[in-house]
Amino acid sequence: MKRSKPTISEINNSPRPPRKIDSRAELRQLQRVMTGALFRPLTSQWGMQKRWTDGAPMKVLASEFIKPNDRLSSFERLEIYNRQYWFRVLDCLYDDYPGLRAVVGERRFMKLATAYLTKYPSDSYSLRDLGNRLEPFLQEAPHWAAPREELAVDMVRFEWAQVVAFDGPAKPPVTPDDILDIPPSKLLLGLQPYLSLLELNFAVDDFLIAVKKGESEALRGEASNAMDGAPKAAVRRKRVRFPKREKVYLAVHRHDNMLFYKRLDQEAYAILTSLARGDTVEDACVGAVTASERTNVDWSAQIKEWFDGWSALGWFCRKL
């Protein structure tokens, strides 16, 4: 494959390692160079790229700050860390986003994940947050998910909502006493921070259940700083039929610390999103019913049933 020439900007922004480290600034310079080397994607053979960002040979750059030993060159020693970085982060996304993997395919997923992490390296101390910018990435660069761009975005929103539901914060639920004397025209209700409301164009919930069926739960190493193998190899699985386009309203939440997703009627979704925006209970309900195209519905009974259910699930908290 022909290598594209580095741009002037790449050459000017190509850091070089300091010769000595007598200050914090020089330490930072070394750490920028090494991080820059680690964050560069691996070759198709899972090796370190042969050229630095300015086009200079990588072996020259590595030899400027890494000592060789009797078995490994400077390049090879740096490559161990380059490989470990990518094996770790790709493995993490592989485990956390099985739905996106199924949408784009296993091999394409690795390319997408590499492009994503190249543009958005981790900005959190926790690997939990590694996929927190996948949705904007797919909005900005939809070609990575072509021809299923919209399905991929729906799936990523759904899978990120599950991360939030798993360990997101919970506030004390409202009690009857909290709202006893407040009329619906003045009653404001907050929603639990771990609850996500999604308006989707595909039934990604059913799709993900089908994808996960038969997949064994993957285990991730926790404290070792070593990754001794390439990211999980593509496994031949029975292909799940992609979902057809249909409007789906979904609540992703937890109950008794178990993860759940619940389909919502359009009007129920409208009420909940309206409450989340800060509307009163009365305004939320009137707005949803007025906008509804459904007839022959006993709205009073329906709304009472919804609110009873949501209260039982602990979705409401005090609005600050």
């Binding site: 300091p18 010769r19 000595k20 480290i21 007598d22 200050s23 914090r24 600034a25 020089e26 330490l27 930072r28 070394l30 750490q31 920028r32 090494m34 991080t35 680690l38 964050f39 400027e64 700050f65 890494i66 000592k67 030993n69 078995r71 490994l72 400077s74 090879e76 020693r77 161990i80 860390y81 470990q84 970085y85 770790r88 982060v89 390296p121 981790s122 900005d123 959190s124 101390y125 926790s126 939990r128 539901a165 798993f166 360990d167 997101g168 914060p169 919970a170 921070p193 771990y194 285990l219 190493g221 926790e222 404290a223 070792s224 700083n225 070593a226 001794d228 937890r254 610390n257 178990m258």
Partner: protein, 283 residues
Amino acid sequence: MPANAFNGFTEYGIGIGLRVPHYRHILAKKPVVDWFEIISENFMVDGGRPLEVLDSILEQYRVVQHGVAIYFGSADKFNREHLKRLKKLVKYTNTPWLSDHLCWGSVDGRYTHDLLPMPYTFAVARHTAEKIKAARDFLEVPICVENVSSYAEYHASEMTEWEFLSEVVEQADCGILLDVNNIYVSSQNHNFDPYDYLNNVPHHRVGQIHIAGHSKFEKYTLDTHDHPVLDPVWKMYAHAVQLVGSTATLLEWDDRIPSFEEVHNEALKANNFRDQQLAATAP
């Protein structure tokens, strides 16, 4: 009676790492374990299942926190949000000491999620010690720093790793989490005698010991934590106990994790080495 000034918890004995595949067994069977080491970052969350599990563990067991992302050696200032959450967890678990690694792993707010080796210079030692002191003052808990395994060394280094570790902990006046497996792995990768390392760190600062398995490849050795502890590491552990006295010891097993019993039995082998050494050195 503590074995040394930084080892006020000698009676902690042999612990094992709390890992997800063992949750169900531990919560259901409540096995007898001296203590559990938790990875701090796994529990620095706002709610849900992780904290529910932690609550159940804390009801039954002593817990010690071990971190993987403070990065004392990063040139960046601390991530304040990280420290605040860590302090909240420290108060929650009442950990008697807290450990993290003598390494770096982030720069300019971008994280590698790795434990990267330090350049061993006096300026870097000063900077790192200042950060350890600042963290201890903020967190209000004793800190032990752990030596990492490494696969590369820098031209800029001015001293050996054990000299650097000693320089940092003396300046920071903190403890050491001595990982004997990491010393062995690094000795294989950098051609030094691991016993030179063991013999030349300040033994009176060792507050905890780690043991683990590793993997040998053709040209290097990796700290994989996916095997039982190998003989050279057990021998080093025995020597370490001779040098530092009875010390809280933890077996790390983080990948290809077998049953809880297998991990626990492997950890308890440390008792034999420790008791033999202590008997041999008894007055």
